[in-house]
Symmetry: C2
Subunit: 300 residues, 2 copies
DNA sequence: TATATTTGTATTGCAATACAATACTTAGTA
DNA sequence: TACTAAGTATTGTATTGCAATACAAATATA
């Protein structure tokens, strides 16, 4: 209900005032994301320029519905998940099935994401050199530590993981690539935050939902800022069980050629085999060295 | 030019005959992809049901443009790559930038795919258990072989790789996940083909572009079919330098609970350290065992 | 087995949206 | 400074996407 676009009353007049529009009062092109009204309520709704193609957004919003509930969804479930009407849901599901991004089980009539979505991630990975550049150093870090190593980039108030090397003795592959986690409570996020100006940090924290995820999640702003400052002092920061109980992580920031923060490397271990002290003793040098090497490699 | 939708003459009449349409002569629902007219010429154009939302397709076609040329693209390049007009390209680029799937470099004004695309792959991986189920066996295979292990699923006339474990001593991470390769000239593809009926195999080969990729690519249908048959006899098949010069691969099929082929596992090594004989001697048992274990795990 | 209810599918008129055309602006070159 | 090419903004038009709705199929209930 209460679709984010405010499409509540069907047939609302909305007298066709599209042509005419407000005549670009500023001198900054429409392209710039000059919307400070971020994240209204749900996922949908972004821009309202006359250039914006709403159907594209709706298509992605159907796909996004599957990242919340990870089960196959029926048409009506998709309609209610996305806040679209049944007709619209029907249209977009039909389209996405035709395009191959959703698969339909003919007996249950439920849809689920198809492997074709991986093609899109491949498009990103193949056209963006960062993960290839970082790869050798990440592999080295995994070899030196024996533990899981991740590469993360900032995305709004979150970090998004773009590469993962699982620990040498792991027997599962955590599908973390493409996953997001809040900056404020991850070592990756705090490492990245340390590359930002105090104003930007404030802005990101303001926009963050500081609800604790585990009972160890640090939500006190002063304490978060202190941990971010730690990076400037020591070169790394840790987060212990703040996202996942039993998980300890340590991260260091990656800098780009332009002197701006790019993302971060983190190493990820579990209790009780590891303690925070041991993480700092053994992994801090590795994670710092790795981040440093990647930063250098990015500048060449 | 000659956009696949036949949108050649601007302002062509196309007298508004949309409502009315042909009244579903068959009894098979519109959802079923009953179009045999596959892959006309370029990438665009699929269905023409009144349910189909063309803008969604166009959005994806813009993203797809980046998988051909892996560099950042300007607006006009995107327009010509996709066959859309400049206006349409503008709209879809604007939309995709707003949604965060494309990033704009303000100085060069070029766009490139953003890491947010990885979220979509995560949606797939998280809602589809196959890669998690297969993971322990793939890890085991990598441990036993020390070499790169891949998991592939069929997609039209190609296979798409949905998981990759790089070889123990590799210092690069080949971004192969989400990548596609033709079935006819890959060991993975042939292993999958062996699970299909002769008619389906013929159909897939008919639809395939049998142009050789390297000078070792086998394009003779009888020879391809023989290699596919090998799987039935021996449980595995090989492909040597047919896609990448210097690369030898061996694959075995994965079967689902319903007795239908699901995909395949392959192990991937390089010359001159390896020869086809050594691959068969040392890796065939591993790849067969792995595929068998995954098939069993999928049935439980 | 019949009836009710829910879910999926198909159709249609309406109007809002996406488009081509085009004018305008900026950047890059001569 | 003019010239050219590329990017950006605007607008009328009609195509497209939508809600509403009718129809069908499946599932639940009696």
């Amino acid at each position: 209900m209460t679709n984010a676009s405010g499409r509540l009353t069907p047939l609302k007049p909305k007298t066709g005032t599209r042509p005419g529009k407000k005549i670009n009062e500023t001198d900054v092109p429409n392209y710039i994301n000059n919307s400070e009204d971020k994240s209204e309520n749900s996922s949908i709704s972004k821009a309202d320029s006359s250039l914006f193609v709403g159907s594209v957004e709706k298509g992605f919003s159907v796909l996004h519905a599957f990242s919340r509930s990870r089960k196959p969804l029926s048409l009506t479930e998709i309609a209610s998940e996305t806040g679209m009407g049944k007709s619209a849901a029907q249209r977009f599901c039909y389209t996405l099935v035709q395009l191959g991004f959703l698969e339909r089980d003919e007996s249950s009539r439920r849809m689920r994401p198809s492997a074709k979505l991986l093609e899109l991630s491949h498009t990103y990975l193949a056209s963006n050199p960062i993960s290839s550049i970082a790869a050798p150093y990440l592999l080295q870090a995994r070899e030196n530590s024996g533990e899981a190593v991740n590469l993360a980039l900032p995305m709004e108030q979150d970090v998004i993981y773009i590469a993962r090397l699982s620990s040498s003795n792991s027997h599962i592959l955590h599908p973390i690539v493409g996953g997001r986690a809040p900056m404020f409570c991850t070592s990756s996020g705090r490492a990245y935050l340390s590359t930002q100006t105090p104003e930007d940090i404030e802005r990101i924290l303001d926009a963050s939902d500081l609800t604790p995820i585990t009972r160890h999640t640090i939500t006190d702003r002063a304490e978060i800022l202190k941990r971010v400052d730690d990076v400037t002092i020591n070169g790394y920061t840790t987060a212990c069980q703040e996202c996942i109980v039993g998980e300890l992580t340590i991260a260091a920031p990656i800098w780009g050629a332009d002197g701006l923060g790019v993302g971060s490397v983190n190493i990820c271990v579990t209790r009780p085999a590891w303690t925070e002290e041991r993480v700092i003793d053994e992994l801090a040098p590795i994670v710092c060295q790795t981040a440093h090497n990647i930063s250098l490699a990015l500048s060449n």
